[in-house]
Amino acid sequence: MLFVKNLVKKFGDFTAVDDISFRIEKGEFVAFLGPNGAGKTTSIKMFTTLLHPTSGTIELNGINPVKDTFDARRSFGIVFQDPSLDDELTAYENIEIHAVLYKIPKKDRPGRIKELLNFVELWERRNNLVKTFSGGMKRRLEIARSLMHQPAILFLDEPTSGLDPQTRNHMWEYIQRLNREQQMTVVFTTHYMEEAAKFARKIIIIDHGKKIEEGTPDELIKKAHASTLEDAFLNFTGHDIREETASAADRMRQRRQAWRGK
């Protein structure tokens, strides 16, 4: 489903992703973990065609995203770390735009939108502007939107950050249902180790752009001689506090601005 081999991404002399390889099979539920600035978001940007790798290969649902970008884009859904909805449009309109962008036939759109909004329990609010929604409702709507084109793999970049425990619980219920009932492959990043331990069947830990470990939560806990996944994670990645550094793309922009003398 998602096969990554010797993947590297450099921004100038900075290596954001450094020779990572792994395989994720169809129907797997995978947590992609790492401290701030480890290279998680840069990796997801490469998997989802937003960035080109410097070297290495990615195979997504049998497709090379670098060569067959549009086919690859039809294969995945993504919920970004930050909200990506249009607040001035209604819930229905936001999903409708997605449907048009993904060329879903006009006759299929109303039924599919209704099905998805019912799935995330937002059908009754379909005609409300998104700016009136809570953070949790926006996240649910983003999940519904990401599923509109029936992707084979779903990427979730810190989908529950900033949400209360009740909403987080609901979110994971939806995602687990998708994984269980539709065999949808799910790859998510999170800083909540208890979420990763509870929901992921496989965990990939990266740090400083390199893959550190890979295995089931139990395997990683055992390997680190720890009692919880959080302890195992800290054993693998260290206890030093990571600065909330700018993203790799931000660093590139900063260098570009410095070079221009701004």
Binding site: K45, T48, T49, L50, L51, T69, F70, D71, R73, R74, I78, F80, D82, P83, S84, L85, D86, D87, E88, L89, E93, E96, I97, H98, V100, L101, Y102, K103, L129, R145, A249, R253
Partner: protein
């Protein structure tokens, strides 16, 4: 086409739902019409230049189009900062479709704004010379709007935040407006300002609208229209290239 249409429609819906934006963007043209139209009108007439409101109104309509169309760029920076752009960037559609929809949407909004200001000028005594030329006027308004919506978007592809755009407003948009002949006739200006005005795309927009609405422009209509069409097409192409290279 459906991609261009849905993104065009999005811009329109956002505009029509924002009553504050509609009213707010009418305040500035109204202020110019009242303060300058009535303030400088008597001096303009004494100087033998005719009715200042007749002269000023096409300039203010063009100003309204310019400022609203440039706002398309701010919209893009907003979408970049608040995420919607990412949704379009991972969609299986060419970037050229996305930017065309955005620019045409912004241009349509600006042209509507220009048409509203045209209607408002009648309250202040402006009279159209030839009503049969109104459809042509609306077309030119749309071309001018496309030109500046593309310019605003091209600039926005190179900027990270709103503060940068403010700089562009002060050092590019305001000079383009002031040296376009919107507020005062260009004949008799120092030669350096005449050259600046010649290189200012807004000059051709203001003059074309003035010719169409009052038959009293300073330049021949056909060359001005050709300049506007070429610049609009060229800037739309440049914006597409820059937008296609954008990284989030």
């Amino acid at each position: 086409m459906s991609t261009i249409y849905i993104l065009w429609l999005r811009q329109l819906k956002r505009y029509l739902r924002s009553k504050a934006r509609i009213v707010g963007s009418l305040a500035q043209p109204l202020l110019f019409l009242v303060a300058m139209g009535f303030g400088f009108g008597p001096f303009f007439q004494k100087a033998g230049q005719g009715n200042y409101m007749e002269f000023l109104s096409p300039g203010i309509i063009a100003m309204s189009i310019l400022f609203t169309a440039i706002f398309t760029g701010i919209d893009m920076i907003w979408d970049r900062q608040f995420g919607f752009l990412k949704e379009t960037f991972v969609a299986p559609v060419p970037r050229s479709y996305i930017i065309t929809g955005r620019v045409l949407g912004g241009a349509t909004v600006a042209a509507i704004q220009g048409a509203i200001v045209l209607a408002l000028t009648f309250i202040f005594g402006f009279r159209v010379g030839n009503w049969f030329l109104i459809p042509a006027t609306l077309v030119i308004m749309l071309v001018v709007a496309t030109l500046f919506a593309a310019l605003g978007s091209a600039i926005a592809t190179q900027l990270e935040d709103m503060q940068g755009f403010q700089l562009i407003m002060n050092f590019l948009v305001m000079p383009m407006f002031f040296f376009s002949g919107a507020l005062f006739p260009l004949n008799g200006l120092p030669s350096i300002l005449t050259i600046v005005a010649r290189f200012d795309p807004m000059t051709y927009g203001v003059d074309s609208l003035r010719v169409l609405l009052t038959s009293a422009g300073g330049m021949a209509l056909s060359p001005s229209i050709i300049v506007l069409f070429v610049l609009a097409a060229g800037l739309l192409w440049l914006t597409t290239v820059l937008f296609s290279r954008m990284e989030l």
